[in-house]
Subunit: 315 residues, 6 copies
Amino acid sequence: MYLHAQKLIHEIADDEPDPAAANALQEGLGGQFGEMRTMMQYLFQSMNFRGKAAKPYKDLLQGIGTEEISHVELIGTTIARLTDGSPRYQGKSTDPIDSPGAGGATPLASALTEGNIHHYLVGAQGALPVDAAGNPWSGSYVYNSGNLVLDLLYNLMLESTGRLQKCRIYEMSANKALRSTVSYLIVRDQAHENGYAKALETLGVDWKKVLPIPKTNAEQFPEVKKMVDLGWQSKQYTFDLTGASEAAKIYRGASPSNDGTQLDATEQAPEGAPLTIADERPEEFAPGLDPELLALIQATADLEMAEPEMTYGPL
Amino acid sequence: MYLHAQKLIHEIADDEPDPAAANALQEGLGGQFGEMRTMMQYLFQSMNFRGKAAKPYKDLLQGIGTEEISHVELIGTTIARLTDGSPRYQGKSTDPIDSPGAGGATPLASALTEGNIHHYLVGAQGALPVDAAGNPWSGSYVYNSGNLVLDLLYNLMLESTGRLQKCRIYEMSANKALRSTVSYLIVRDQAHENGYAKALETLGVDWKKVLPIPKTNAEQFPEVKKMVDLGWQSKQYTFDLTGASEAAKIYRGASPSNDGTQLDATEQAPEGAPLTIADERPEEFAPGLDPELLALIQATADLEMAEPEMTYGPL
Amino acid sequence: MYLHAQKLIHEIADDEPDPAAANALQEGLGGQFGEMRTMMQYLFQSMNFRGKAAKPYKDLLQGIGTEEISHVELIGTTIARLTDGSPRYQGKSTDPIDSPGAGGATPLASALTEGNIHHYLVGAQGALPVDAAGNPWSGSYVYNSGNLVLDLLYNLMLESTGRLQKCRIYEMSANKALRSTVSYLIVRDQAHENGYAKALETLGVDWKKVLPIPKTNAEQFPEVKKMVDLGWQSKQYTFDLTGASEAAKIYRGASPSNDGTQLDATEQAPEGAPLTIADERPEEFAPGLDPELLALIQATADLEMAEPEMTYGPL
Amino acid sequence: MYLHAQKLIHEIADDEPDPAAANALQEGLGGQFGEMRTMMQYLFQSMNFRGKAAKPYKDLLQGIGTEEISHVELIGTTIARLTDGSPRYQGKSTDPIDSPGAGGATPLASALTEGNIHHYLVGAQGALPVDAAGNPWSGSYVYNSGNLVLDLLYNLMLESTGRLQKCRIYEMSANKALRSTVSYLIVRDQAHENGYAKALETLGVDWKKVLPIPKTNAEQFPEVKKMVDLGWQSKQYTFDLTGASEAAKIYRGASPSNDGTQLDATEQAPEGAPLTIADERPEEFAPGLDPELLALIQATADLEMAEPEMTYGPL
Amino acid sequence: MYLHAQKLIHEIADDEPDPAAANALQEGLGGQFGEMRTMMQYLFQSMNFRGKAAKPYKDLLQGIGTEEISHVELIGTTIARLTDGSPRYQGKSTDPIDSPGAGGATPLASALTEGNIHHYLVGAQGALPVDAAGNPWSGSYVYNSGNLVLDLLYNLMLESTGRLQKCRIYEMSANKALRSTVSYLIVRDQAHENGYAKALETLGVDWKKVLPIPKTNAEQFPEVKKMVDLGWQSKQYTFDLTGASEAAKIYRGASPSNDGTQLDATEQAPEGAPLTIADERPEEFAPGLDPELLALIQATADLEMAEPEMTYGPL
Amino acid sequence: MYLHAQKLIHEIADDEPDPAAANALQEGLGGQFGEMRTMMQYLFQSMNFRGKAAKPYKDLLQGIGTEEISHVELIGTTIARLTDGSPRYQGKSTDPIDSPGAGGATPLASALTEGNIHHYLVGAQGALPVDAAGNPWSGSYVYNSGNLVLDLLYNLMLESTGRLQKCRIYEMSANKALRSTVSYLIVRDQAHENGYAKALETLGVDWKKVLPIPKTNAEQFPEVKKMVDLGWQSKQYTFDLTGASEAAKIYRGASPSNDGTQLDATEQAPEGAPLTIADERPEEFAPGLDPELLALIQATADLEMAEPEMTYGPL
């Protein structure tokens, strides 16, 4: 059972809208090695897990898998911000229904030549479950052989490939919103690489000098360096509400990345950053409320409400 | 940000393994109108939501979307139990690596003729992200137009279609494990139907006699009737860890299903049922641990561990 | 612009429901060489046609393409009849909403083991736009190179492959409903083979003895023989409402199939057979009308209506 | 059974070729909510229809479905005109085979950077069965649950989404050929919205103020306003050649769009506009006739032909 | 540049036709972890290889990739033999065109219920480029990140997964034709596992006890044991016609599988087994030659022919 | 069984990197009518071939199919060269790991706007198994009906369509690397067209003036003319290492293209051109070797190696 906190797992820096940057980020969301895939892969591996003696391994998968849902939320929100307003429409009309294309204007003209036209035509300046070449996400991506060694090996390769692709995305754009999310995910992918590599170490493998994959250095990615200096590449939250996770039995000891840090999995969750709601975009008919419907919406929003009955936190 | 509780949202009744029942259930997991789709659709609609005045609508989407992740976990686990052991292999060997196919035996022979062969060949007697005809789940299923009325209308249709398909699955098999999960989801889909129908009522629509869709009666589905008598079709949890959800501003008042109940969304989460770990299946090489690897796994499991540092519950 | 006559292009013989036969027929509807494909391919070739001097070739494509829409209707209706009632449910209940699965019965149990489960789970005992292995129809099937010789060559191959597959389907089942439609389409595919082969003859090709493809003989397919004796393999209707078709400039003279007949394209349309409406299937919740909704439907059906204002036929 | 009239359902305004506009229009042809989809969805819903008492509903589906085939023809032809000549090749060569790329020239160079390269590489400057992101049309788009209320609800949502996307396309380009077709389809989609909304009204639903979806106003889309002033959004032709359609029993009375008009379905078909044949494009080898083949084509075109034997109109 | 020897890389044992066994084998041919995928993956990794200093690694990829083409040929031929004649048609008619379905018989009836119907309807009792669930092979399977460590890690996982799936297929059927090919491929997959594991050893990784994956033992798979006793799991041919391969610089020394053998890559190619041509199947119209066409074929076969001019062997 | 010679089948001219040209070429590699498709189609037709009397036809398929693997290698290598260095990164760093993005630079920025972003993000400036619109290659492309006449007819159409598309690609770019490969393939496709057309001639068809398809002339494509003057369009190698091919019994006599040449198939293989290995691209982390790993690689490359034991050539 899952619960949601109205927070983003990491904050997104402000910058200009950028449809091409948004499109590149789609690979990290809906691509074959993106967050939707890691999320689904680990959730399936957890559901189908075999071997009671191996509970710490299941808990590691479940914890990382739960984090990946928050990564889907983070990268999806980043894409939404990068597409929002990118056609340079100001969106400050006092009459939101009628003005956008008044007299036959073309407020969405830029969609023909920049980024993925579906961001403006199928979605309303928001994220889509597709990759950077426009291919929809596919269930055939999910790997779950049931063999523990193979699943761990695949996951190590998967996190490393995700990290490789995010390093390449970093090199494609200096947009700060893109960079803040991509840099965070580069660090978190390494944290997950470390988890799967460590799990294989408990089974005997000695990685020597090949990790991390890909080899990078701090100077190359300044935003990444700041987070590495905080040790985020060696920390894994349990994301577990029942206190039952045994992931810390694996996620401990010297990092397989040979950076001198110790792995740590003794905290439940990070603090997070505020979640906000985007403004309306009349040229997209989103949400498409005319004054009559808006009044009805407002009436609903103005209702009084009792305190909910809580089973879980916040503590 | 999401967290996980090591519980199933609803318990699964015990019954015999049944590969054909498992295959039918795949439609409810990876089908076009299954739980992976509702989950992804509502998470995307939440991420891309527009209109600050409409926060209760976003919170309704976010809350139902979070519940759908638990439904993925529930139906996936049900499929795993229905496939587990279905080839009638006893799995009690004292020498788990060598016995399954000793001397060239065919412990997986039933996979050639029953259910989906991929349950045994690609997975290790577990759930897959595909539908009942074997098609992988596709990102092209997700609908998120950005227009609030359209998104609500689609969601109402989506939940109703999901419920229709689950009623048909119910009529296909009397297996108790299948039935306990399918009946629960029939009731929950109606709870979601009610939520989206009510949201459209706040915008003026009067549904009169057309809801619920499909029309069913209590006598037809005895397992469903028990849950309807408890009012579960009119209850929506917030699944929100920050106490900030305003979904209850919509999910209140008389049910659009005309069954005389009042909608209620004042609780955070249900109690849930225990999550367990499946036994190993040597004939699938899952998890495929020989004595040497098993000893290493056990050493990890035996480690001492500190209490985790909790931010959220349990209270 | 297209119009519809409430008639089937050919009648369907009565026989028992047969889910496996229905599934085999799906190849002829939604398969790579089925009727949806021929229809779409010829409509695209007509829309994108180049060369004013070549109007008879365009008219040939347009006429055959229009006939293919009627073939989609014929084969789809045949599949619907073969699936209808196949789970052996009698459907004669006086209380259509409540009886089908009364007390937890399994009226759809046969769907787990016979034919395509989607016929009962996703559709309501009706045709689907998929092939016999369950793959959805794809736009990537459509071929339209724009080169006239290549398009004609492809079409000749396409009709021959369609006919080959229908001969194989004929050999798979003796169900009379399947056979009446399959035999008719074997003959019509040959009529289209003749059309494209003749068009290539006007450009100089001499086919000698290779046509028709595949080689069959009359004795092998008795139902086919009856229609061949009527000369239907050498006849092409214009299906044109404006009297402007010049297809008969190509579709004339000795048949390229070397059967001694003369091609003929001087009639507009065949007589056709009655179209009927299927009974409801309460176990599918189709159409799912309870007494209240049924009364509303009946009120609509009982309304008086003026004569429509006609521009086209019947003469 | 279907017939074809050699007419376009609406005329296409003249304007410059425009590959980007053509690509955007592909969403309206081969996209998930485009004309190929509405056409196929309604044809399947008609074929698989259940309930003799509900014939007016089937006739409504059949009539709109038949119109959608003409919409496929209209939008496909518009795309063909927008791609035709877009690489700025004049196409007036006296020696059509040899001149286009004489001496190694690159008459198709613009295909590398504008619109969809497949318009020039796979097709010969013509329409393709794909969406604006290049994904082929898929049979998985077709929805036909068999439940009448659900199918009507889906169709209402489908037409509204189609209309929403066409409003967005309108805002992307001021090309007159694109606009004349898109504006016409915006109006016709609303006519279909009205039909499905009205059908749900006969079952009791009261839409109050939510229709039409999306909310637009006349001033915003001048080309649309002209057709709305003619009342085309409230008119539905039967497209039925047998005079048997009962769609007018539903399509009558006050418009659910609250624009003060009365719905009307008492005419068979609109007048239509002339269909023409495109010029050859030697650089595409389309149709690729050298002088010898051209002479053979001309010989066929010069043949005399008898009057066809007509069963249906024109009256 | 590639050349072909008219030999199978390994012989196929004789046994009865078996459509279900043929279908299971399709996973090994066209599945996500089958031979078409390994072949394509290694050919792409070779073409796109970077780093002149790393030539032995490229040569290892090229050599294994070339072997995989022969594996496609072997497993495809095995499937063809297992489907051939499976409908129990004797195929010994003296009049091959007319007899199969004489008088409306159903010689292909078994296709409706056994294996994949496409083996009989789309193919003519032969192999298809699809997996065991009927999904067509996809280019999206191919992994080639360009990062050497990642590509090697993926390949190790890929070969191990292929071997895992083949062990499962072995356990599904005792058919000797299936077993001879599956057992051979289990051994060869291990030989490739050893190659990629060894390549990672040269980069420092120490696998200790985790290899091979999956863990099996000799007694379980008697046919495999015979080939392991011959050391085939530790031998890699160069399949190189220019004598330039440096794969043996990697493929040498103690096996990473810890079985006490030494790796060896000093031979060019194995001896192979005879390739034969299948008999015709008149009920499939394959090859579909009537007496006239057969006479023409024979005339071609009877022609005299000069010795070809050879550049490469046999020596 | 297949072997590989470390040679390209034809040399690639040097020119500037060009991402748009690379993307267009992808259609010739991974497109529906590209080299991966011809290769797979002919390999499947060979494996599934029926009819011992028709061995020359099988050998023709096998020989052309083998050549197509070399074409995959040629066009893939061409794409790799055209993408390599296209982001204008000089790649001459002395510290390959750290310099590419030093200080947060964007060496891959051009990937956002030129060609297919996957060339830089998923691949490392190399070829991908996709078409020019980014769709992955699909097994559903492969046609193998088993009917000899149909398979030959399809193959003739396939080669002609491939040649048509390559003529269009030629007209899209004057890049010399693109042109040298495209021109070679235009000539080889015609050689294959001639082979299949001739095979149909042996069955009686007389093509008169319709071949070749498309009609081109020498002056239009200067690079093609040079190879046509050498007669390469009328020559087919056996690519057979056992001297057993009988393809020359078909591939002989006057060319069906009416160009006055005689077909010839008496040589085993062309000479070929050198294969080289690309430089590393640090900004892609390809191959991603830091100094420690590089030293290990070098140690492997420096090993001594025995002469391999050869079974086949070179002679």
